[in-house]
């Protein structure tokens, strides 16, 4: 009947149905915010290839399906799915979300130093909504703004990490988002807030995964606010289910003297996009965005970053490496903007890609936009297959081709993982890499 | 030729030179020695007019003219040459073209005719031969891909071509092996003449074994703490800069 409906329209209808059940429904500011957001989403629509930042990522597989609200019926699959994401013996403060909702029974926050709050968004909206209000609804100019708006309309839960001035958290905060979808495609819209007041420090690790083979959509927004001289390490593992869609938008606002170090490993999902927008709003900010993407089969994996140097004396370093196998399509879009005021900026970016198979595909677009003269900015990008000389060398030393290939791919990725400072996270990521490697290293793509 | 009177200078808001007096006549070679951080390079840059090197007190007269009123290129054209401690690389600019342009602006300034490419090449080759240096110094881009020793030789060669009245050599001996040192020293001696003054800035006295100075000044913490003949350099070599602790006391007295 509704043949000419726009892809966004079903979500407007869904919103009307669920809005009365969303957390914080008694807060008028939040009601207005959600209403404004859904209208904004409907008017913007899903991003299309015509938007420069979405040039290489078509959302049509996503928009063909209408994702309903996630069912909150408990099923026994969460415990089983959780296991491989856990950090083992290492101490951490853990919050677990299943199908978008906090599961206290699976979480373990433990004791926290004074001035540190780790809780769920839903709980925070009940207990201290006034603390959250100022952090929502600011002007959003991100490339995926339509999807941020959709998240704002539907956000039901997520993590809130709040660090008071000078608070230093030693053990990492581990946020695990698990989907156990059953009975039709569902969407989750987690919303995370990391609020670091001046001089505070912490490491946050987000893990995303799914149980089963059903289709679902994670549409997550994470806001990081680092006050003066705060130091945030922010890690992420995206290992969603094979039929999942994963769109993540991280916005980091960085004040003078703060440091923000991000590492993202993407390996799951059918179609995924990891978008990071870091704004260096103060002087002397140190911003590092690193990561790897491991794509195979028919996966589509998009990494889109934007580093905006708004004030003088900032340093940014970015290295993303990709390994692409099968018929996978990887996209890297990295933009560095240096505003007129941001003299003495030092920015470097590198994107390296390893193509393992005949039908693997990479589109990369590193981009510099420079409006200040006293700067040092550079970028590099490359794509190609494994170094045949190195491969040959290893074989002359007696290694079989398959083993040699595996060794070289591992080295290519390990170089990045080794840079992850938090030991518990590093070893967890290594485990995931080694489970991935055997599936690509056989050189079948070589034909 | 050069009168440095009670010179105080500041760099980045920090007072480096705290009252220096030196007087150099045409034909004289003076050496300035001193430990790291004593202000030697600062003095060189103040003489050449580098931006950010601010004279706060005292003055420097070159042939009676106040240097502070002259732009760096004007000082160069008047005949002040600085052999840099760290000569900078200028990619894509051929050494030949660079030096020819430098020579011609100076010649023009002095009312002489400009040299064309062929005349210049002839002159350059003569100077290279005189100094016993290789022609590749002018074939490549300015200082690009030069070894440390080549850079220093190139500075001496540029001095030979530009024929300055006053040459300031800032640690031209540093980082050289003994053979390179001899070539550089030989170059300096060749260019020594009654109309030219030289100010050799060095950390070690070994260059002074080959280039015998008329006077040696010892710089410490922005002041000349001792002045003397060439034997002062040997004394320093012998006793090290530690001797300055007592010397300092003498100077202050």
């Amino acid at each position: 009947m509704t043949t000419e409906q726009t892809p966004g329209a079903p979500y407007l209808a869904q919103f009307a149905q669920v809005k009365a059940k969303l957390p914080g429904r008694r807060l008028s500011w939040l009601k207005d915010l959600r209403q404004g957001a859904i209208e904004r989403f409907v008017s913007l629509g899903f991003p299309t290839l015509k938007i420069e930042e979405w040039k290489y990522t078509s959302l049509s597989p996503l928009t063909k399906t209408v994702f309903g609200p996630a069912s909150q019926e408990a099923n026994g699959r969460a415990e089983e799915g959780l296991r491989r994401f856990l950090l083992g013996e290492q101490p951490c403060h853990r919050l677990v979300f299943v199908n978008g909702r906090h599961r206290p029974d699976l979480s373990h926050v433990g004791s926290l130093p004074a001035g540190v709050t780790i809780t769920s968004l839903a709980a925070m909206l009940e207990a201290e909504p006034e603390l959250l209000e100022p952090h929502f609804g600011g002007e959003d100019q991100s490339d995926g703004q339509a999807l941020v708006a959709l998240n704002t309309a539907f956000m039901a839960d997520g993590a809130v990490v709040k660090l008071a001035q000078g608070a230093a958290l030693e053990a990492p905060v581990h946020l695990i988002f698990l989907a156990t979808t059953q009975g039709g495609p569902a969407a989750h819209h987690p919303r995370n807030l990391i609020l670091a007041e001046p001089g505070s420090s912490a490491a946050i690790f987000e893990s995303y995964g799914g149980v089963g083979t059903e289709s679902y959509w994670t549409n997550v927004v994470t806001q990081v606010k680092a006050g003066r001289n705060a130091a945030i390490r922010h890690y992420k593992l995206q290992c969603e289910g094979a039929e999942a869609f994963h769109i993540a938008i991280t916005q980091a606002d960085l004040e003078s003297g703060s440091s923000y170090t991000s590492f993202v490993m993407s390996m799951g999902g059918r179609l995924s996009r990891n978008e990071i927008a870091a704004r260096l709003n103060g002087t002397g900010v140190d911003c590092r965005l690193n990561g790897v993407y491991l794509a195979r089969d028919r996966q589509h994996m998009d990494t889109s970053t934007r580093i905006e140097h708004a004030k003088p004396g900032g340093l940014s370093r970015e290295v993303y490496k990709g390994v692409i196998d099968g018929e996978a399509h990887a996209v890297f879009h990295g933009k560095i903007v240096v505003c007129p005021d941001a003299q003495k900026t030092d920015a470097h970016q590198l994107n390296e890609n390893l193509l393992l198979s005949e039908r693997a595909r990479i589109d990369t677009k590193p981009e510099l936009e420079i409006h200040a003269d006293d700067v040092k900015c550079s970028h590099g990008a490359n794509a190609g297959e494994l170094d045949s000389e190195a491969l040959f060398y290893l074989r002359t030393r007696g290694l079989e081709e398959e083993r040699a290939r595996s060794l070289l791919i591992e080295a290519f990725v390990a170089e990045m993982i080794d840079g992850v400072e938090t030991e518990a996270v590093r070893s967890n990521l290594r485990k995931f890499v080694s489970s991935w490697l055997p599936t690509v290293a056989n050189g079948k793509g070589a034909a | 030729m050069l009168e440095i009177k009670n010179l105080h200078a500041r760099v980045d808001g920090q007072q480096i030179l705290q009252g220096i007096d030196i007087s150099i006549k045409a034909g004289e070679v003076h050496a300035i020695m001193g430990p790291n951080g004593s202000g030697k390079s600062t003095l060189a840059f103040v003489l050449a007019g580098r931006e950010g090197y601010e004279i706060t007190q005292g003055e420097v007269l070159f042939e009676g003219r106040n240097l502070a009123e002259m732009k760096p290129e004007e000082r160069a054209r008047e005949g002040i040459f600085l052999a840099f401690q760290y000569p900078v690389e200028i990619p894509g600019v051929s050494g030949m073209n660079f030096l020819k342009s430098a020579l011609n602006v100076t010649r023009k300034y002095r009312g002489l005719s400009e040299l064309d490419a062929i005349e210049f090449l002839k002159l350059a080759r003569e100077k290279l031969k005189l100094l016993g240096m290789d022609e590749k110094l002018i074939q490549r881009a300015v200082n690009v891909g030069f070894s440390g020793g080549e850079k220093k030789r190139s500075e001496v060669f540029q001095m030979a071509v530009l024929e300055p009245k006053l040459a300031v050599l800032d640690e031209t001996d540093s980082g050289l092996d003994i053979d390179a040192l001899k070539i550089v020293a030989n170059g300096i001696n060749t260019l020594r003449n009654p109309d030219r003054a030289m100010l050799i800035i060095t950390h070690y006295q070994r260059l002074l074994n080959y280039v015998i100075p008329d006077k040696v000044h010892v710089l410490a913490e922005g002041r000349i703490v001792r002045s003397g003949g060439k034997e002062l350099a040997l004394e320093l070599e012998d006793k090290g800069y530690a001797m300055l602790d007592s010397a300092d006391a003498n100077a202050a007295a």
Binding site: - | R50, I90, F98
Partner: protein
């Protein structure tokens, strides 16, 4: 080598200001203002074109009106300008003569004087051997030199209009095969309204013994210039082609929307060099040429090569991406560019290297210099298609900023569909270091001379790709373009 010296005066005798900004007072015949099918028929008729040519123009015109005009000018480039009123310009302006001059003696003396003033000698007897010139004045080719001598070797070098008359089979075979009539907004406009241009055909195995050169001049007011160049290098042939451009200083902006198509067959090579010195507008950004140009080459044959070298110092806005389609196995594409934007100039320029054949190679060297309020963007695409086994690309983009009001941007697109490809891209942005400046000043050079010298050093890799005398003139042009940028 001294041979090219004369032609090279294109950009010579340069002093403080834009030297080519004078207007020639000459009687001009125009088509009515604006563009419609009647104007196109008028142009076609003036040129006595065959029906197929008119049909092609009309097809392009209809596409432009139906597909492109409603969507307006392309907006993806980083350039801004007020909407152009396409119906307010003249699309055809020609020096009034009875018919095309048979020999140079019949050319209006005022025209000859213009070219003399610009340093372009049109009198063959006064020229040294080595360069053949086709001069385009507003819309019309006014003289082509050395034609007979080249004809002896089977080389065709003539105006585009003449080629349509004399060599219709070649024009029909190749026209629009590299840049189709419906390619993009400006190329389609050109296909409808192009007035003249140069045509070159080099027969198999012939190495063209002299540089071929086209000199473009916009003179008339409110006139767009839409020339079209087609160069075909048949198997095993070689040609080096130079193009230079100037225009009078006028307060209004003028549109230049040219199309260049290059085709190389097996083992052939075309070297195409441009020194673009259109009037850039004044120091407040008033006036200047809109240089919206589509240039593309197809390496159709195996082991063929196309290299583009450009020095873009003029024009208020430059929108230009000389590209190579590497179809033939083992074919090679090169793009070397210097683009300078000073005052309020804007440039969005780069290239596309499309790797289709096996073992195809491409190299991109781009040097962007922004001064004053200039905005300088490199935009380039490297695409390796699935069958392009062992494709190689190396790209180096360096930007230099002089002053804190300008901008330099680098936007590379790298699309790889074949794992055996090796694609490398590097880019840097910086300013001239204080150390370099001081070193030069200590040797007696003024700040301006030092900057010119350092910038020329920065551009050297590209300038050395130009024929030698052109390179010398290009160096001077670099200095002039930067005038006023050193505080």
């Amino acid at each position: 080598m001294a041979a090219t010296a004369e032609t090279v005066k294109t950009v010579k005798s340069v002093t403080d200001e834009y030297k080519h900004g004078f207007v020639t007072d000459i009687e001009v015949e125009r088509a009515p203002r604006g563009l419609n099918e009647d104007v196109i028929r008028f142009i076609s008729e003036k040129k006595n074109e065959p029906a197929w040519m008119l049909e092609w123009r009309l097809k392009a015109y209809r596409t432009w009106v139906e597909r492109f005009l409603p969507a307006s000018d392309p907006t993806w480039a980083r350039v801004t300008y007020p909407q152009i009123d396409y119906q307010n310009a003249y699309y055809y302006a020609a020096p009034k003569t009875k018919e095309r001059p048979k020999s140079l003696d019949e050319i209006d003396p005022a025209l000859l004087r213009t070219y003399e003033k610009l340093g372009i000698p049109l009198k063959e007897q006064e020229m040294l051997a080595g360069v053949a010139v086709d001069a385009i004045f507003d819309s019309i080719s006014v003289a082509t030199t050395y034609k007979e001598k080249l004809a002896e070797m089977g080389i065709i070098f003539c105006s585009f209009s003449e080629a349509v008359q004399e060599h219709p089979e070649l024009v029909r075979e190749y026209l629009g095969t590299v840049v189709p009539y419906a390619d993009n907004f400006f190329a389609t406009l050109n296909s409808a309204a192009f007035s003249d241009g140069s045509f070159v055909y080099i027969p198999p195995g012939v190495r063209c013994p002299m540089e071929l050169s086209t000199y473009f001049r916009i003179n008339a007011e409110n006139t767009g210039q839409f020339e079209r160049t087609l160069i075909i290098a048949d198997k095993g042939s070689y040609v080096s082609y130079l193009e230079g451009c100037t225009a009078p200083m006028r307060d209004e902006n003028q549109l230049h929307a040219a199309v260049v198509e290059l085709i190389t067959l097996d083992d052939a090579e075309i070297k195409y060099s441009t020194i673009q010195n259109w009037y850039p507008g004044d120091e407040n950004g008033k006036g200047g040429i809109y240089n919206f140009v589509t240039k593309r080459g197809a390496c159709r044959g195996k082991y063929s090569k196309i290299s583009w070298t450009q020095v873009e110092t003029g024009a208020a806005i430059t929108w230009k991406y000389p590209s190579c389609i590497l179809q033939g196995d083992n074919s090679v594409g090169e793009f070397s560019s210097v683009a300078i934007t000073n005052n309020y100039q804007q440039a969005d320029t780069g290239t596309k290297m499309i790797h289709i054949g096996k073992n195809t190679r491409s190299t991109i060297i781009s040097k962007g210099i922004a001064a004053g309020h200039g905005q300088n963007t490199y935009r380039g695409l490297v695409r390796v298609l699935p069958k392009a086994t062992n494709a190689r690309n190396y790209t180096q983009c360096d930007s230099l900023l002089l002053g804190d009001k300008c901008g330099a941007h680098t936007v590379p697109y790298i699309e790889v569909r074949n794992r055996t490809a090796k694609v490398e891209h590097e880019a840097t942005t910086s300013k001239i270091s204080d150390d370099q400046l001081f070193y030069c000043k200590q040797r007696g050079l003024s700040a301006e001379d030092a900057v010119t010298m350092i910038v020329n050093g920065f551009c050297k890799q590209v300038l050395q790709e130009l024929p030698m005398e052109f390179a010398v003139e290009a160096q001077k042009l670099v200095g002039i373009s930067l005038e006023g940028s050193v505080g």
